[in-house]
Symmetry: D2
Subunit: 371 residues, 4 copies
Amino acid sequence: MGRTHSNGYKRVSDFFPEIQYVPELKAVCSRREDKVRAFADQWGYKSVETDWKNIISRNDIDAVDICTPNNMHAEIAVAAAEAGKMILCEKPLARTLAEAQQMVDAVEKAKVNNTVWYNYRRIPAVTLAKQIIDTGKLGRIFHYRANFLQDWTINANLPQGGEALWRLDADAAGSGVTGDLLAHCIDTAMWLNGPITDVSAVTETFIKERMHQESGQVQKVGIDDACIFHCHFRNGALGLFESTRYARGHKALYTFEINGENASIRWDLHDLNRLEYFDHADDSIVRGWRTIHVTDGDQPYMDKWWVPGLSIGYEHSFIHQVADFLKSLETGEPCAPTFRDALETQKVCEAVLDSAASKSWKETGAEEFQR
Amino acid sequence: MGRTHSNGYKRVSDFFPEIQYVPELKAVCSRREDKVRAFADQWGYKSVETDWKNIISRNDIDAVDICTPNNMHAEIAVAAAEAGKMILCEKPLARTLAEAQQMVDAVEKAKVNNTVWYNYRRIPAVTLAKQIIDTGKLGRIFHYRANFLQDWTINANLPQGGEALWRLDADAAGSGVTGDLLAHCIDTAMWLNGPITDVSAVTETFIKERMHQESGQVQKVGIDDACIFHCHFRNGALGLFESTRYARGHKALYTFEINGENASIRWDLHDLNRLEYFDHADDSIVRGWRTIHVTDGDQPYMDKWWVPGLSIGYEHSFIHQVADFLKSLETGEPCAPTFRDALETQKVCEAVLDSAASKSWKETGAEEFQR
Amino acid sequence: MGRTHSNGYKRVSDFFPEIQYVPELKAVCSRREDKVRAFADQWGYKSVETDWKNIISRNDIDAVDICTPNNMHAEIAVAAAEAGKMILCEKPLARTLAEAQQMVDAVEKAKVNNTVWYNYRRIPAVTLAKQIIDTGKLGRIFHYRANFLQDWTINANLPQGGEALWRLDADAAGSGVTGDLLAHCIDTAMWLNGPITDVSAVTETFIKERMHQESGQVQKVGIDDACIFHCHFRNGALGLFESTRYARGHKALYTFEINGENASIRWDLHDLNRLEYFDHADDSIVRGWRTIHVTDGDQPYMDKWWVPGLSIGYEHSFIHQVADFLKSLETGEPCAPTFRDALETQKVCEAVLDSAASKSWKETGAEEFQR
Amino acid sequence: MGRTHSNGYKRVSDFFPEIQYVPELKAVCSRREDKVRAFADQWGYKSVETDWKNIISRNDIDAVDICTPNNMHAEIAVAAAEAGKMILCEKPLARTLAEAQQMVDAVEKAKVNNTVWYNYRRIPAVTLAKQIIDTGKLGRIFHYRANFLQDWTINANLPQGGEALWRLDADAAGSGVTGDLLAHCIDTAMWLNGPITDVSAVTETFIKERMHQESGQVQKVGIDDACIFHCHFRNGALGLFESTRYARGHKALYTFEINGENASIRWDLHDLNRLEYFDHADDSIVRGWRTIHVTDGDQPYMDKWWVPGLSIGYEHSFIHQVADFLKSLETGEPCAPTFRDALETQKVCEAVLDSAASKSWKETGAEEFQR
C-alpha cells in the first residue's frame, strides 16, 4: 500500500495541475531501517524514521498516512490527531468498532482533516455509477449484491503472520476477509444505496491451523477465510454480500450490482474501466445491458487522462483520492469517506462478525454517510 | 409447460432413434374444454379430458405428466400412483414437504416409474459440469453459489392468480421464487455438490397487495418475491443462493458456480451452450477461465444434434429428460431426479421458508440423491 | 442437412398453428437404399426412393427439397421445375454462376415457388438486425464486416470426397469456404446492406494434397481452404469478409457487424440469441454496446417459443424458414431468398473466386434482392 | 503524446529501481511559448524552447524524444542524429518510406541509440502473446487478423489541420489511418508473425471535404478515413487488417488474433489486461478459449506493479518502453523497435497505400525485425 499511496502523491500534480497544494514526501517510517531506507530512496522520501512517534512529533509534517497493519491504526491515528495532523488512514479503519470509535472521537475533537482509503469509490466507472444513481434513474431499489473473491490462500502451507502475511493473523488484522475485503464492498454499498440496517452472516475458516511466520509454531487460524451475509438496507432493498480467499480462479473479483425498478447497474474490478447499465426505458426490442467503456472526457476523472478508449488502472483510484483530499483542503469540505463514514462501515463489519458468531440477525446501527 | 413437454415427447424418437419406446399422445386434460381441444389439435393429442380423474381411470394411458399448478400435484400424483401409472411431475414436487412426502410414499408403495422435471440438469453444459465434478478434478469444494434472477413481476399493476399468473398466488403455488426458481438451483446444487445441511434465509415481498384475477379483489400477496439464503453443504462447502423476480434487466438468469481447491466451474442459462472452467493445473502464465462451447459430439447429448459450434436451446433439456425416462424403462434404473430426490429438494425449500419466517438457522434433514 | 430440414417440416405445425398448410413427408431419396430406409424410418417418411428422378415423376409430391452435394443442384432443380414442383434448395444455389442462372431460368419459366436455405436470416437476432436497419436508425453506412471461421479441416490426414467429406472435393462442392461459408455471409450482407458491386479477394489452400475417399488416391486439393475479400457496397460502404476452416479454436464462428453514422449492430452465431447494438443517440455518459437477449415475444419469431430469457437454437432457423415458405403459399408472395436472390449471391461468389485467381478487382454485377 | 512520454520518464525510477539511468527532464519544446511554458511547469521540465533546433544544439541534452506531427519527424531526427543524440521517435517513423529511409541512414551512420514508440508491444498481455508464440506452441501459422477501429471523425463538421487535428491533414500526417493506426497493427503483426510480403488494399475517404483549421477554407480531405488490406506473411499465413475512424461504437478497438495449427491467441485494447488463448492440446471435453487476466508477478512486467487481479492501464506501456530503453543503454543491445524495424513497417504502409491507389497487389520488400 505504501507504493500505491506514494505513487498517488507523486502523480497528482502532473494530472491535476489546477490543485494548489502539492504533496511533499517528507518522511517514511517503518521498523526495519534497511527496508525503509531503500523504500525512501526508491520513492524520493526526504527522510526516514523507524519509530512512528517521531513522525508525530516532527513539526515539518502536516499529514500522516497510516499504512500499517490494522492493529496499529488506532494508536497512531489518535496520537496524530492529538498532534493536530491531518490523517489519511488505510481501510478498514480499525480492528474493532471500539477502536474505530476512539479514532473518530480523536479526529473530531482535534478537528483535523481525515479520510480513509476506500479507494474503489474513485474508479471512474464506480463514480459514474454513483452519479447515475443520484439522478434517481433507478427508481425504487430492490436489490444490491456484491462479492469480493480471491484465491490466494488456498495453499495450506502458506504461513500466517509476519510482514507479508499479517492479513492472515487475527491479532494484526482483527478479522479476515470481513475487514479486508467486505469492508470495501460495504463502503461502496452504503455510499450507493444508504445504510445497512441488519445482517445475518456466516463465516468459515477452511484451513484451521497454519504455521505462524514469527513464532514458527503451528497455530489456530483466527481469521475468517470466507464470509457471507444477507441484509436489509434502510431503503427496503435486500442485500447480499460474499467474500472469500478460496474461490479458485478469481484473483480479485470485486463486483457489485444494484437493481432498481427502472434500471440496474453492475461493475467488476477485473475489467474496471467498464460499467454495465440496463435501462428499462429503452425501446423494448433493442433493450439490453449496455457495456460502457468509461474512458471519455465527460465521465468522472477521465478528462485528466487519455483519449476515449484508452484504459486506466487500479492505482489511478489512489491518485484520484489524493486529488480529492487536496481539493478538500481548498474547499474546507470533508474528503469522503471520512473516519466517521468509515465508522458506519465498521459497525456493519462488527455486526456481521457478531451475527456469524451468534448465528442470529444483528442490527448494525449504521447511519447515512455524511457527504 | 404443456408445450415443452409435448415437444419433448414428439421429438424424442427423431433424435434418439435407438430408444425402443415411443411416446403416444393419448390424451391431454384441462378444465376449459375449448382451450384443451385447441391444444390437442395443435399438438396432435388423440383425445381430450376436462376432468383429470378421467385420465387416471383410462386403461389406455400408461404415464401421466403433471403440469398443473402446484396445488394439484399431490392429489393427482397419489391417484395416478394408486392407479399404477408412471408419473412425470413438474417441479417443485409439491407446495409443502408434507404433500411431497405423501407423493413419495404413494409412488414408492405403488412401485411406479417416476421423475420430476428439474430439466436444467440435462442442458449439456450442466451435465458436463457434473461429469467434470465426478472425476474429482475440483478437489475439496469450498464454495457453491447460484442465483436465479428475473424481472417480470416488477409492475405493481400485474394481478395475481388465475390461469396465467397462478405463480403469484400463494394458494396455488405454495411459495413464490423459492418453489419456482430456487428449487431448480437447489436440485442442481445437491446433484453437483451433495446435501445442504442447514440454511439461513431471508425473504421479501416487495409488492404487498395485488388484485386477484379471479376474485377481482385487491388482496395481500402471500408469496415471496425474493429469497436469499446461505447454507452449509455436508462436504463442508459454503453455499449462497438468491432468487428474485425484481432484478431489472435479467429475464431468466440462472447461474451457478462451484469453487474447488483445484478447479472451478460456472454456468449461465442466458448462454446455455457454454460452460466456464478454470483449471489451476494449467501453466501459470497461460492460466485462465476457459469458455467451453458445449456443442461437440463427445460432450453430453451433443452427438444427437448438430455439428460443433451449432447451438441448441432451452427445450432440448426436456427432450433429453424424455429420452432418459424412456431409457430408464428399458434399463429398470430410476430416472433422476425421482420423487424421492425431489423430496430432498423440498426439504431444503421448506427449511428455507421456515428459516426466513423464524429469522433463524434451520436444519434441512436432506440426504444424498439416490442416483 | 436432411435432419434439420425434416425437423423443420415436422415441427412447424406445432409452433405455427395458424398456418393452413401442413407438410407431409411423402418420400426421401438417397442412392444407398439401406441408409435412406433407416432415415425414412427414423423421421417418418412414408416412402423411399434411390433415384431422384422418381421423386420428380411422382404425382403425389408437390415440393422437392434439394439437400444433395452442390454438383447435383442444377440438374435436379431444373427437372423439378419442369415437372412443376415447388423447390427448396440448399445453399449455395450451385457450383457456378452458369449453373445458377440455369436454375433461375427454369423456376421462373415454370413459375414454381422456390427458396434457398440461407437459414441464418431467420435466427431471430439476425431478423431483428434487419428490422432495426430498415427503420433507418443507422444512418449512412460506412462499414460491413463478416467472418465465418471454423477449424475442422486442420488435420492433414482428413481425406477429401465421399459422402461425409464432399465439401472438400472441388468437383462435388464447386468451391471450398467461398460457396460453403462465405455464401452465407454474402447473403446476409446483401440482405442487410444492399448489393456488393466489386471485390478484391485472396484464397489459400493450406493442405495441398489429401487422399480421396472414393479413389483412395492422394490427390491435389482443389478447394479454397480460406478466402478473404474486401469490397464496395452500392451504398458506398466498405466491406470485409473472411472465411476459413483453419482458425483453431473456432467451431462455427459466423459474425457480422455493420457500422452506420448513428448506430452499429453486431452478431455472433456462437451466441445466437444475442444481438449487440450501439446507439449513438444514447446519453453520452451511459452510452455503450447493448447486449440484447432476443427472447421476448415482441422480437421476431419469439412469440412462438418460450418465455423471455429462454434460448432457442440453430435448428429453429429452419423451422422459421419452413413457416415462412408455407405462409408464402398462402399470400402468393415469394419466400426470400428466392433462386433469383441466391443468384445475386452466386455472382459475388464467382467474382470473389475470379478475383483471387486473377489477383485483381472484379465487378460482381449483383443487383438488389427483390424486396 | 507529450504527456504519456513525460509520465514514462517520471515514473520509471519508482517502478524499475534496478535501472541505473534516471531520465532528467531538461527541456521541452513547442512553437507556442505560453503553451510550452505551462506544460513545462506542470510536468517539471527545467527549461523550454520554442525552436527545436535549440534542443539539438544544447550540450546538456543527451536524448531527444520526437512527438511532433509526422511531417517534422525526418528533419528533426536527422539533425538530432548528426548531433549525436539518442532518439526516441513517435510512430509512424515518417510520412513516407523515403523519409524513413533517410532517418534510418542518419541514426545508423551516427550510431546513436534509437527507438520508435510502437508502445502496444509492451502491454503485458501483448508481450505475453509474444512469449507464447516464441515457445512454438502455436505450430504452423495459418491466419493473422487485426483491426483498429475508432469513431471520432464521423462528424462532418469536424475541421482538419491545426494543432489538435493535424492527423486529418495529409500534409502533416502523411496518411490517415494507415500511418496512425494500421502502423501499430503492422508493427505488432510482424513482431509476432514475421514479415508481410505482399498486400492488396483498399482505402476510403468518407467525408470528402472539411474546413481547414488554419486556412479557414473548405478543402479536399487528403487522408484515408479507412483502410483494409489482406496480405501474405513470409511464413505462409494469410493476413487481414482493417482500420477506420468511422466504426460507430468503437473508441479505440485495437484487436489482433493469430491462429496456429495447435493454438490461437487474441487480444483487445479495450480490455488490455486480458489475453485470450486457445490450446488444442487441452482435453477435448473441457477445451475452450481461456481468458488470462495478465496481472500476475510471473507475467511480463507485472512484478513491477500490483497484486494479482489489479489492472494497469494504457500509459504503462510507455513506462515499460522507457524502462527497456534505459536498460538497452546498460546492455548495449538495441531497444526494439528500432528505426530500422520501423522502416520495415513503413515499407508495408507504403505498399498498402500504393496498392490502394493502383488497385493491385504490391510487394512490400519488408524484412525480419532485427531483435
